[in-house]
């Protein structure tokens, strides 16, 4: 990632920004789908009932925490792997 000059770096940064936006939208829609699938299975009512709403709040909460934890561990492992160079990354 180094070896880019200033203008290349700017172009790279703007692409990363767009990518982040896209990733966020994907994460959002995956979250909706997961929590909908896991929490909403009863269609005898038209709007969400209490139980479903509680489930959805917990679902979002838990998944955010889980993905934060996975991210932490991932960064650690990735850094360790880069350092040992076992996958050719230098």
């Amino acid at each position: 990632m180094d070896g880019l000059n200033a203008s290349e770096q700017r172009e790279f940064a703007s692409r990363m920004e767009r990518k982040q936006m896209k990733e966020f939208m994907t994460m959002y829609s995956k979250m909706v789908q997961r929590c909908f699938d896991d929490c909403v299975n009863d269609f005898t009512t038209k709007s969400l009932i209490n139980r479903e709403e509680t489930c959805i709040m917990r679902c979002v909460d838990k998944n955010l925490k889980s993905s934060a934890r996975l991210n932490e561990r991932f960064q650690e492992q990735n850094a360790a792997m880069m350092q040992s160079g076992s996958m050719g990354g230098n």
């Binding site: 998944n63 889980s66 996958m87």
Partner: protein, 94 residues
């Protein structure tokens, strides 16, 4: 990915940016796949509480560790296979 070819000599701006982008792409793709697998394996779909409990946390930590182990094992195995093919003069898949 310059490291695959031993630091390619002259690359154009577009090529360098594309290479950097590919590297980020690979890492973020790996993270997304890991998230998908480890969530499925460690987080039960009955949300009894919003927090991660002890068991889920430990499961996630170990899941990441094993995911990396599998990556390394597969890469070593495939590299070994490719080398064996090169030496035998057979047609490798790479």
């Amino acid at each position: 990915m310059s490291f695959l070819f031993g630091g390619a000599p002259k690359m154009s701006s577009a090529e360098k940016i594309a290479a950097a982008e590919t590297e980020v792409e690979m890492i973020s793709d790996m993270f997304n796949r890991l998230t998908e697998s480890c969530t499925k394996k460690c987080i039960p779909a009955d949300y009894r509480e919003g927090d991660l409990n002890k068991g889920e946390s430990v499961c996630l930590d170990r899941c990441v560790s094993k995911f990396f182990d599998v990556n390394i094992k597969v890469s070593e195995k495939m590299q070994g296979e490719a080398n064996a093919n090169k030496q035998g003069g057979g047609m490798g898949f790479m």
